[in-house]
């Protein structure tokens, strides 16, 4: 036994073990600190710094101070800064490579704090710069960078009448010109036709012929009718035929004239109505409509709301991969590639199943500008499908500066990674707003100087689709407006109305997918502003109409008057035709006697 056993070896072994333990005790804090910083930096895409880390072995736990997590999109700011975190780990499960924390406290969480030096990783700096550039090119935002919206005031000032008429064509003038030309042409044609038709001269000739025939047969004393005498002689029949031919020609001309006159009459009627149509058309184009004010609230609030949504979506997309298990469920043992090194880890079914990382309960305190918010988070894990419970959170803040109370609660449910279901409810009471700019337009600057109100938000996400509803009511409101040196009457009315508003509300509904969503904003501001300027708009529209009417009438009176004169000349043709027709008919009657 003595031959094979070496007592000194026992001492050497104990010495080596003691050295190893001493090494771990002395350097474990530093090793863990560097390891956490390295892995967290890699996961975040920007530096994660830890101020101080203390590990305790009995019981197993950790205290971490001053954690700074850089915002990858703003390397000089921390997205999150934590004053300190403390927790104990279940030792038995830790030996099985499971980090199960029953209770954790996280203190002094702050958002968007400045950093002393940039937290960008060298590779990431180039990537984020090129990403920003490419986003600017196509205009689509990413990771919280939002498109800056400009507020376009609806066209509230009516332009000058002269400039309107210089731009717009007056159709009644064109109609008058065309009709005048046609009337002149047809008048010319009819004058030629009338020359060919039997006139006074010819009627006189016919009467002379009748007289001649009567004289010829006067000597005969038999009182036979002239007609018989003439008829007997044949001259009568010739004369009658001539008269009837002329009558036919005149009747044909009269028929043609009647048809043409109908057309011209129609066109004259159109011409008479044309100035009115011009006035209505131009008025409709240039007058102020309340339609432009129907959604003014979305112009005030829309860009801001859109920015909030984009930032929230960007953060969700950043955090999501860590809250759900993206590995496919396999039958039998599961292989997992370790982060470094060769080989694979084969994971077998556990009894009971347990996620590799779980924080059962974390109490947090968070500092915001107004004060501090405390809360509880439960069931934070990277494998919610194993735990079978969603992550829940409840935050509350009371008596904050500028806010009476804020309550946030919700749950993040990745139990089925293919069908995530999340919910957030936020209730803010007596939230004070101060000096909030609503419009930077140089003709119409609007700012909300102060207001106090309540906001309720409910947000649901089901698979890739989300729906959100935000309702708010504000009172003790004061708006401040700043207009250009010569604002129009309508802008002045809007400014006056806004100054008198003491309470307002708005509702936002949003929905869609994370990549493509729509936002609808409704507010009683729309109704108030619309009704305030409604009468003014009506007056302004009537004034425009009056001026427009006078200007257009002035321009078209001359040409239209000429056309009417021309038409009267044309009507004379009809009169003449009728007269000649009558004369011919009388001749025929004389023949019958």
């Amino acid at each position: 036994m003595k031959k094979w056993f070496r007592w000194q070896g026992l001492i050497i072994f104990a010495g080596i073990m003691a050295l190893v333990i001493l090494f771990w005790v002395v350097f474990l804090d530093l090793i863990l600190e560097k390891t956490i910083e390295t892995y967290a930096t890699e996961a975040n895409g920007a530096r994660v710094d830890i101020g101080n880390l203390d590990v305790s072995l009995f019981p197993a736990g950790m205290k971490i101070e001053d954690i700074q997590i850089t915002d990858p999109d703003s390397p000089m700011k921390n997205a999150l800064q934590v004053g300190g975190a403390r927790f104990l780990v279940n030792t038995r499960l830790l030996l099985r490579s499971k980090v199960i924390i029953d209770q954790m406290s996280i203190e002094q969480i702050q958002l968007n704090t400045p950093r002393k030096k940039s937290g960008a990783l060298k590779k990431r700096e180039k990537k984020s710069r090129s990403a920003e550039t490419s986003n600017r090119r196509d205009g689509s935002p990413a990771h919280g960078t939002a498109k800056k919206e400009t507020f376009n005031v609806p066209a509230l000032n009516t332009p000058d009448i002269k400039s309107i008429l210089a731009k717009e064509s007056i159709q009644s003038l064109a109609l008058a010109k065309s009709l005048q030309s046609d009337l002149e042409t047809e008048k010319g044609n009819w004058e030629k036709i009338l020359k060919d038709l039997p006139d006074k001269k010819k009627i006189k000739a016919y009467k002379a012929r009748i007289k001649k025939i009567k004289k010829k047969y006067k000597k005969k004393k038999k009182k036979k009718s002239l007609t018989a005498l003439l008829y007997a002689t044949g001259e009568y029949s010739d004369l009658k035929k001539d008269i009837e031919d002329d009558l036919e020609r005149i009747e044909a001309a009269a028929k043609k004239y009647k048809k043409q006159k109908k057309e011209f009459k129609k066109r004259v009627k159109q011409l008479a109505e044309a100035p009115g149509k011009d006035i209505r058309r131009i008025k409709a184009k240039y007058s102020i409509t309340p339609k432009g004010l129907s959604n003014i609230s979305s112009l005030f609030i829309g860009p801001r709301v859109d920015q909030w949504f984009q930032k929230a979506i960007a953060w969700y997309q950043r955090v999501e991969p860590y809250l759900k298990n993206t590995r496919k469920q396999e039958k039998g043992p599961e292989t997992k590639k370790p982060l470094r090194g060769k080989g694979s880890l084969v994971k077998f079914r556990e009894n009971p199943p347990m996620p590799d990382f779980l924080i059962r309960r974390a109490s947090i305190s968070m500092g915001i500008e107004s004060g501090s918010i405390t809360g509880i988070l439960e069931n934070i894990t990277t494998a919610p499908e194993i735990l079978g419970k969603p992550t829940t959170f409840q935050l509350a803040g009371d008596k904050l500066k500028g806010i009476k109370s804020v309550h946030v609660n919700g749950e993040i449910d990745f139990i089925d990674p293919a069908q995530p279901k999340h919910r957030i409810d936020v209730a803010v009471r007596k939230y004070s707003l101060e000096n909030v700019s609503l419009s930077d337009d140089r003709d119409f600057r609007v700012a909300l100087q102060q207001a106090s109100g309540d906001i309720d938000l409910n947000l649901n996400l089901n698979r890739e689709r989300f729906s959100a509803r935000l309702g708010s009511r504000f009172g003790s409101a004061r708006f401040k407006t700043d207009t250009s040196k010569k604002p129009g009457r309508v802008i002045s009315a809007l400014a006056t109305t806004l100054k008198n508003i003491r309470k307002f509300s708005f509702q936002v509904t949003a929905g869609g997918t994370l990549d493509k969503y729509s936002i609808r904003i409704k507010s009683d501001l729309d109704r108030i502003l619309k009704s305030a300027v409604k009468n003014l708009i009506r007056q302004e529209t009537a004034r425009l109409e009056k001026k427009l009417s006078a200007s257009i009438q002035k321009r078209v009176d001359g040409p239209v008057g000429q056309v009417m004169q021309g038409y009267k000349g044309y009507e004379w043709i009809g009169t003449e035709l009728t007269r000649r027709l009558d004369l011919e008919n009388k001749l025929l009657e004389e023949l019958d006697l």
Binding site: W4, F13, L95, R96, G332, K347, E350
Partner: protein, 173 residues
């Protein structure tokens, strides 16, 4: 290089039993082929220190086998993967997986399991083979080596005197 040869020669020419040299090499095989910071290596180290095995060969063997391990890792991975995922052992491994020692020993890692099984399987055969080779060397080759001019000149050198004095000192303790 000279020191290395001297050590080998010292070990081979020492009065240390062949079994002690072989056992040292076998323990170094486990330590060298398996991932260094595995729990089972604490036991191996303990045994190597507490049992009268040849420590020089243990350390030298560790260096050699560590180098070999890089080349054999793909084989160990395949072996470990096969043994851990084979159907008829699944219930066994599932049972073992519930134990802390199995998890602490990282025995569900393919290379750890493959290399451990490999070195344990080779332990006894390797011990017997090395044992036999040492005996054969001492019986048949040692005399021929001592006659070599290089060895004679080494033996005549100052270095060898120091070596002898160390060896002599070691023999007495």
């Amino acid at each position: 290089m000279i020191e290395f040869i001297v050590k080998i020669l010292k070990v081979l020419n020492s009065e240390t039993e062949p079994g002690q040299i072989s056992l040292g090499l076998c323990f170094s095989m486990i330590l060298g082929l398996t991932p260094l910071f595995s729990i089972h290596n604490i036991l191996v180290l303990f045994l190597a220190l507490v049992l009268r095995v040849n420590l020089s060969m243990f350390l030298l063997g560790f260096v050699v086998f560590s180098g070999l391990a890089y080349l054999l890792d793909p084989l160990f991975h395949r072996l470990g993967f096969w043994i851990l995922t084979t159907g008829f052992l699944e219930s066994f491994w599932t049972g073992m997986y519930q134990t802390t020692l199995f998890r602490l020993g990282n025995l569900n890692h393919t290379i750890t399991m493959g290399s451990l099984l490999f070195s344990l399987a080779l332990f006894m055969p390797f011990f017997l083979v090395v044992n036999y080779l040492i005996r054969q060397y001492r019986e048949h080759i040692l005399a021929w080596v001592l006659k070599l001019k290089l060895v004679q000149s080494l033996r005549a050198s100052r270095l060898y005197e120091i070596f002898q004095s160390v060896t002599a000192h070691g023999r007495h303790t």
